[in-house]
């Protein structure tokens, strides 16, 4: 069964809290990783690796670079789940 936006957001929040120390409740869809959440490219790779495992999707580096906001990742996870 497909995950809802809220479920993906909650899962992402847990990952970002663990990797980057940003409290999960600050992880909201419109925020950008770099400017709003102060997350650098190395943490983005770690977040992508954790998201791959949690959501059973592949997020290669060439896709990762286009994911600028939290919502971008939510959309990506939903798209990947549909085509799986």
């Amino acid at each position: 069964m497909a995950m809802t936006d809220q479920e993906i957001l909650a899962g992402l929040g847990e990952i970002i809290d663990e990797v980057a120390g940003v409290p999960a409740d600050q992880v909201t869809p419109e925020k950008t990783f770099v400017d709003d959440l102060d997350i650098d490219s190395l943490s983005m790779v770690e977040i992508a690796v954790a998201a791959q495992e949690k959501f059973s999707v592949e997020i290669p580096d060439d896709q990762l670079k286009d994911l600028k906001t939290v919502q971008d990742v939510i959309e990506y996870v939903k798209r990947s789940a549909v085509s799986a």
């Binding site: 663990e18 990797v19 190395l42 943490s43 790779v45 770690e46 992508a48 690796v49 791959q52 580096d61």
Partner: protein, 329 residues
């Protein structure tokens, strides 16, 4: 009736860092970087660079001599010398035979081992195997590198990372199994646990030196991704091989490649009580020297104590990787 079996354990550590300290500020004057960027992305505050005429053989000999002294053994007790290095001055002859001669070890087996940053863990596994099999009574295992000779000092992506140094351990016999522990109880576990190792040649183009006239090149992002996703299962396998739960580890000493990689792997281990080695902060990335150098310095500072179970994890160019649990002498 279960019998005791021949095992292996570490008898002593030694380490050597060259005298010259190179700070981030000094590098920032030469290439476009900053102290803040280096500390945040790599975790290094300063590193050591060997003198121009200081060789891998020199550094290996000093570290090896210190480990020998710490072990309480004589040179004549050493049956095999292994030098893990990917930056030897010469491919012909090897480094190990010269180191053995300088240390007054008479006619031991001697070979160099190249598994890049996994070199020390590979060499330690091979040394333990030799002792268990009776091929050598005691083995001197050294990791030594002069990476500064292979770095393009105008390339800010590599010159901030790689450094020079050496670390060593003496491996000797131990009995393992029922009745070999304190007060005749069960053995506390292997002095050197069975290695979990492997390689992935698909990643050969991620860290390389093209030819004798070229410098180290690495795809940092790809290496970061690989290191933070594929290695923690290997580390957990090494714990299982040794019959040790991650929660029983006193310390985790991974190859000191990058503090962000170290922290990412540590997060996945399920060993929040374990001290995580961060020797890279004042040592830089010294490839096969990084783990034994960290162990030597942690021992000197009292960060690890006799009897502590410590998980080692080497990984790097090849790609090669290896992990084992050791007991601190």
């Amino acid at each position: 009736m279960t019998q005791t079996r021949a095992g292996a354990r570490i008898l002593g550590f030694g380490g050597y860092q060259p005298a010259r300290v190179v700070t981030n500020e000094e590098l920032a004057r030469a290439v476009d970087t900053s102290d803040e960027w280096i500390r945040s992305r790599v975790g290094i505050a300063s590193r050591r660079i060997a003198a121009p005429d200081e060789t891998v053989t020199d550094m290996a000999t000093i570290a090896g001599g210190k480990a020998l002294a710490a072990s309480g053994l004589e040179p004549a007790d050493i049956g095999l010398v292994i030098v893990a290095t990917c930056t030897p001055e010469t491919t012909i002859p090897n480094t190990a035979a010269s180191v053995a001669r300088r240390l007054g070890i008479a006619a031991p087996g001697a070979y160099d081992l190249n598994a890049a940053c996994a070199g020390f863990c590979y060499a330690l596994a091979s040394a333990a195997d030799s002792v268990r099999a009776g091929t050598a009574a005691n083995v001197l295992v050294i990791g030594a590198e002069k990476l500064s000779q292979w770095v393009d000092w105008t390339d800010r992506s590599t010159c901030i990372i790689f450094a020079d140094g050496a670390g060593a351990a003496v491996v000797g016999p131990a009995e393992e199994g029922p009745g070999t522990g304190p007060a005749g109880g069960p053995s506390p576990g292997p002095g050197i646990g069975p290695v979990a190792w492997g390689s992935d040649g698909d990643l050969a183009d991620k860290i390389y030196v093209r030819d004798r006239n070229s410098f180290i090149v690495q795809e940092g992002q790809a290496v970061f991704r690989w290191a933070t996703s594929v290695l923690y299962p290997v580390a957990l396998q090494a714990c299982e091989n040794a019959g040790v739960q991650p929660s029983e580890l006193a310390a985790f000493v991974p190859h000191q490649a990058n503090l962000r990689i170290i922290e990412a792997i540590a997060r996945r281990l399920g060993a929040p009580q374990a001290k995580v080695a961060c020797d890279i902060v004042t040592a830089g990335n010294t490839s096969s020297a990084s783990i034994p150098l960290a162990l030597s310095r942690m021992t000197e500072r009292g960060d690890i104590q006799t009897g502590d179970r410590v998980l080692l994890l080497g990984f790097g160019a090849g790609a090669c990787y290896a992990a084992q649990v050791i007991t601190v002498p």
